[in-house]
């Protein structure tokens, strides 16, 4: 009995028709696509994207205490922290800070070790540029963010 059934199923292409039914059902279902540059995806809060050097929101001064932890933990050694000892207060003061995004693994170790949450990987993910040198972010760029400084906000229109 089941043999005949199987034979009939084979003759009448039941296996193929089942597949066709699946694809037919989907033809009129809603689509999954995101229209990327038009609709920007909502990234998770923890997303490890473009780096940012945070300033104290009240005073506007940098949060970085130039402790050099991020530079040491970085697997690619791509962070360079320059500091100077303030002759009066004997405190380390940040002079420059570079972050080479071209080599970054976006592993997030730097933001993890940072004691003051100064270096942070943000949800900004559009890092493509036209030259290698522009992937070397200096302090100014790290503090202001990428888009705002290079192209203006309308670059991805």
């Amino acid at each position: 009995m089941s043999n005949t059934m199987n034979f009939l199923k084979r003759i009448f292409l039941v296996d193929i028709l089942k597949g066709l039914a699946v694809t037919f059902r989907y033809t009129f279902k809603s689509v999954y696509t995101e229209q990327y540059p038009k609709e920007k995806p909502k990234l998770a809060e923890r997303y490890k994207g473009a780096p940012r050097l945070n300033n104290d929101p009240e005073t506007g001064e940098t949060l970085c205490i130039a402790c050099d932890l991020c530079a040491q933990i970085c697997p690619e050694d791509l962070i360079v922290v320059g500091s100077q000892r303030d002759p009066e207060s004997r405190k380390k003061v940040l002079t420059h800070y570079t972050f080479d995004t071209s080599r970054c693994l976006f592993c997030g170790l730097c933001q993890e070790v940072c004691p003051t949450n100064a270096i942070e990987l943000t949800q900004d993910f559009e890092l493509a540029t036209y030259s290698r040198s522009s992937m070397l972010w200096d302090r100014e760029r790290l503090e202001k963010g990428w888009d705002r400084i290079e192209f203006g906000k309308n670059y991805h229109k």
Binding site: G19, Y26, K29
Partner: protein, 364 residues
């Protein structure tokens, strides 16, 4: 004299021009249709950027093809390499000269209206009464089916030559595959059509449709197996999935057109889609009653006649094309030897048996 000129030159030329134009446009938008449909099957959107929902995409693609650099590989046989796409494309269009998209006398009113301004009524009647002039087809020859089969097999030459002339290994394998595949499926397809011919008793496509009208039944209802065979073989002939072995991109990169780029590639591309339309039109003419509405002789379905015959024809062609695309979005691909096995060991015997069966039935 002038009447003959009009009947045999002017009107056919206009019709041919219209068909070439319409067909080219149809092909262009068939690609869009395919991309859109497959996209929706796959929960995607497909082309969206050029025009509203990508409506201008085919034009953009066409422009891109034309503007792209036309590369002839240095080791390729340049003459054949350049000829092959044309050999492939032209037959696909030629076939349409015998496919009827409307009934005889379709343009009667139109012709009468136009010609009566220039000619006297006697010659107008002469022209109008000529089926070639007023019919919904370019020409109606009494060996139309044979013509279709023979011309469409010329197109395969283009594929083989293109693969051969590229002087590259992937195209060569693609060409080998396609030559074997087309030969084997052509046979089964021929037999599938023969059983229709036996029933209709004519080789003219117009006649076959008229027979279906007279009988009241589309041949699909009489010979569904033959229709299925024609459809499958048509998929194989046009290199559609699951039979797209000559160009199986995951195996042969691009198959016979691997080395082609720009305009020449677009000719192959056009040919493939033109063939799709041809096969669909042929299937519609032979099995789905061409321009006829469903069940033409059932009186209470008479309201279906409101839709003009050409529209019926186009709707049916569209449905078959939809089936083609739908199948492409569903099935995996056969392997080369399995394809041949199916062709020779399954489809050919079925087709042969089918012909014999119908011959026997008709003889009784």
């Amino acid at each position: 004299m002038i009447e003959n000129l009009i009947i045999y030159f002017l009107i056919p030329f206009i019709k041919i021009g219209a068909i070439v134009l319409i067909l080219s446009g149809a092909i262009a938008y068939l690609t869009l249709l395919e991309r859109k449909l497959i996209a929706h099957i796959q929960v995607r959107l497909g082309p969206m950027r050029v025009g509203w929902h990508g409506l201008l995409q085919p034009i953009a693609d066409g422009l891109k093809f034309v503007l792209k650099e036309d590369i002839v590989p240095s080791k390729a046989d340049a003459l054949i390499f350049t000829l092959a796409p044309m050999i492939s494309l032209i037959p696909a269009f030629v076939v349409f000269s015998v496919v009827p998209f409307g009934p005889p006398g379709m343009f009667e009113g139109l012709l009468r209206g136009i010609l009566s301004r220039f000619l006297e009524s006697a010659s107008v009647e002469r022209i109008v009464s000529n089926p070639i002039a007023s019919g919904g087809f370019v020409t109606d020859i009494n060996i139309a089916v044979l013509f279709v089969l023979s011309v469409s097999s010329v197109g395969i030459l283009g594929v083989i030559l293109g693969g051969w002339a590229s002087n590259s290994k992937y195209p060569l394998l693609g060409a080998l595959r396609s030559s074997a595949q087309m030969v084997s499926y052509e046979v089964a397809m021929g037999f599938a059509i023969i059983s229709v011919l036996l029933y209709a008793g004519s080789l003219s496509l117009v006649e076959i449709v008229q027979q279906q009208q007279a009988g009241g039944w589309w041949y699909f209802f009489i010979q569904p197996v033959a229709f299925f065979l024609l459809l499958v073989c048509g998929m194989a002939e046009t290199n559609r999935l699951p039979f797209d072995l000559p160009e199986a991109e995951t195996e042969l990169v691009g198959g016979f057109h691997t080395e082609y780029s720009g305009f020449r590639f677009s000719l192959f591309f056009l040919a493939e889609y033109a063939n799709m339309i041809t096969v669909s039109a042929l299937a519609v003419t032979l099995f789905w009653g061409g321009w006829l509405p469903p069940f033409p002789n059932v009186p209470w379905l008479g309201f279906l006649g409101i839709i003009p015959p050409v529209a019926w024809f186009l709707i049916k062609v569209f449905l078959i094309l939809y089936l083609f695309i739908w199948v492409r979005g569903t099935l995996p691909r056969f392997r080369f030897d399995q394809l041949m096995n199916y062709g020779w060991k399954v489809f050919l015997p079925i087709a042969l048996g089918h012909v014999i069966l119908y011959a026997a039935i008709l003889a009784i």
